[in-house]
Symmetry: C2
Subunit: 329 residues, 2 copies
């Protein structure tokens, strides 16, 4: 077996970091590593924490990490940062709060930018979670910013999704209607000392009761004051309850638990996503290489060709695709 893979399996932080960098760079050599690592996954429990900017997600992650460490659990953290296509800068400022954990060998922290990802959860996050799982982390926390369509992607990686809100988010209740309601396994109202916290919690509960069909799991609403560490134990207790709910057999004769079924579905989705991404990368590289395709692109820009029909026609040219994907490149 590959030495580097052995080091990752042993929990070597620098090896983990290097493997992640190779994944980000799409280094071809990493493919065999990730394949080997995959056989050692399935142990970690992945928790997604999402919500609008400003609700205190980083503080929550920081406090929850502290609590998990006290329980003797190792933690992997992936912070997904929105990234401006212009400035290239990430909002990493509040990562500074996490600093105390950087010195703890039981905690691994990585930031990922969503740059060039079209608003969804970057596919690479799934590979990073897999690496942390193989490296023996007990719990993996994935933090994403935003409320809305974008955040639905968190379901593609997390076993339990925590949607963090706070009082005074006038927009929030409306946003909930737009789909977030349905991704939450646990609702969290942070900054619970502020006015309107109880009203917000009541509002969420009322909305849950209006759900069209009975829920297999009724999401609890947890109140926290993350900056003071209040409510973190309660949050963890609810996460544990949800995990137990997921790991129970789906029915009397069921061989697979809900968790197992979800993870199977997620692996398949990940494959399709990776396929799409790889396919496109290869085609783009081909376009860059070839003069004839360059002038094709030129004609689209100036209006000689229409973009949508040009794409369909190009795909019907078998010569393009046959030579687009040589075995050795």
């Amino acid at each position: 077996m590959n030495d580097e893979v052995a080091r990752v399996l042993g929990g070597d932080q620098r090896a983990i970091s290097r493997t992640m960098t190779s994944l980000e760079r799409r280094d071809p050599a990493v493919i065999s590593a990730i394949k080997l690592l995959d056989h050692h996954t399935g142990h970690a429990y992945c928790i997604g924490i999402t919500g609008p900017p400003g609700v205190g997600k980083s503080t929550l992650v920081d406090r929850l990490t502290g609590h998990l460490r006290k329980l003797g659990l190792t933690v992997g953290i992936i912070a997904v940062d929105p990234d401006s296509p212009f400035s290239g800068g990430s909002i990493l400022g509040d990562r500074i709060r996490m600093q105390r954990h950087y010195l703890d060998s039981g905690v691994f922290i990585r930031s990922v930018s969503t740059r060039g990802q079209g608003g969804g959860l970057p596919r690479i996050v799934k590979s990073l979670v897999r690496v942390l799982d193989a490296a023996g982390k007990d719990v993996i926390l994935v933090e994403t910013v935003g409320v809305g369509q974008t955040e639905l992607g968190i379901m593609g990686v997390a076993d339990t999704v925590v949607v963090a809100l706070m009082p005074e988010s006038g927009d929030t209740i409306q946003a909930l209607k737009a789909g977030v309601l349905e991704i939450a396994d646990i609702f969290l109202v942070n900054k619970a000392d502020r006015e309107g916290a109880d009203r917000m919690a009541a509002g969420i509960r009322a909305m849950l009761q209006m759900a069209a069909k009975p829920l297999q799991w009724e999401p609890p609403v947890v109140l926290t004051q993350a900056d003071r560490g209040e409510g973190i134990e309660g949050l963890w207790a609810r996460i544990e309850e949800h995990r137990l709910n997921l790991t129970a057999p789906a029915d009397a004769g069921g061989y697979r638990s809900l968790l197992e079924q979800r993870r199977i579905d997620r692996r398949r989705d990940e494959f399709l996503e990776a396929l799409q991404e790889e396919l496109f990368q290869r085609l783009k590289a081909r376009i860059k290489r070839e003069q004839s395709l360059q002038s094709y692109l030129e004609d689209i820009g100036t209006g000689k060709l229409e973009p949508y029909s040009a794409a369909a026609e190009l795909l019907d040219r078998p010569d393009l695709l046959e030579s687009s994907f040589p075995q050795n490149e």
Copy 2:
């Protein structure tokens, strides 16, 4: 020329509607139509209106449409609705406010769902804008929900982007930092009668002044009370100013205005997007059809194969791709 195309060019509302439905269904016959229509585009001016839920975007679009009609301009409206992957329902409720325009032949309204689009602006919106442009609409309004990464997609279609906010959105200023600042050509503070409107406008202006490099166009901040129709004329005046700024030659010897250059870039991006989408659709159809690929997917689910490496390996099998894209299907 195709009769249906002639009807669309003539502005026939039902023909426009049928063409749009064919686009949504990916009807192969629509490709030749969209190609013919493309030669008649370039006249319409496209305005994107985005912002968090609850700021009153639909009312804004309604009032702006009324104003444009008074000026004798025809209007096309595309409302992009976030769509829950579970319930399948869209938030079309407040479209009801638009009803008065449904009886006006100078206005065409279409809703598009973001379902299955992974959070970005659905690519089809670009084709729909093209149809409305060819059909002779003077102004096309594209309304999208959300603040954050998702909404960056609006830049791929709009000539002028209006970011609508309101006072009391505690989250908003933070969200601005996350990239929205850079997509706005015009900021709008709606519900300007509420407390904090002036403070918010001042905050936005202050943030603009902190921009790293001097801006080619400094986004103005417009205050409106859309439900009472206040500020709509001022909004339109700012949009017109921005349009003039874009259509001026980029430099003394420049042959192309900023607007022309942007539109060229957008057409190319649209082509690449369409290519990716079509490619993936064809591959997915192939997987559905073939037993061997089905069992491949099965092995990924159960853990025999790792998703990312499996995708890369599949693409290296030339037999898969050669037969994936037959010319006649």
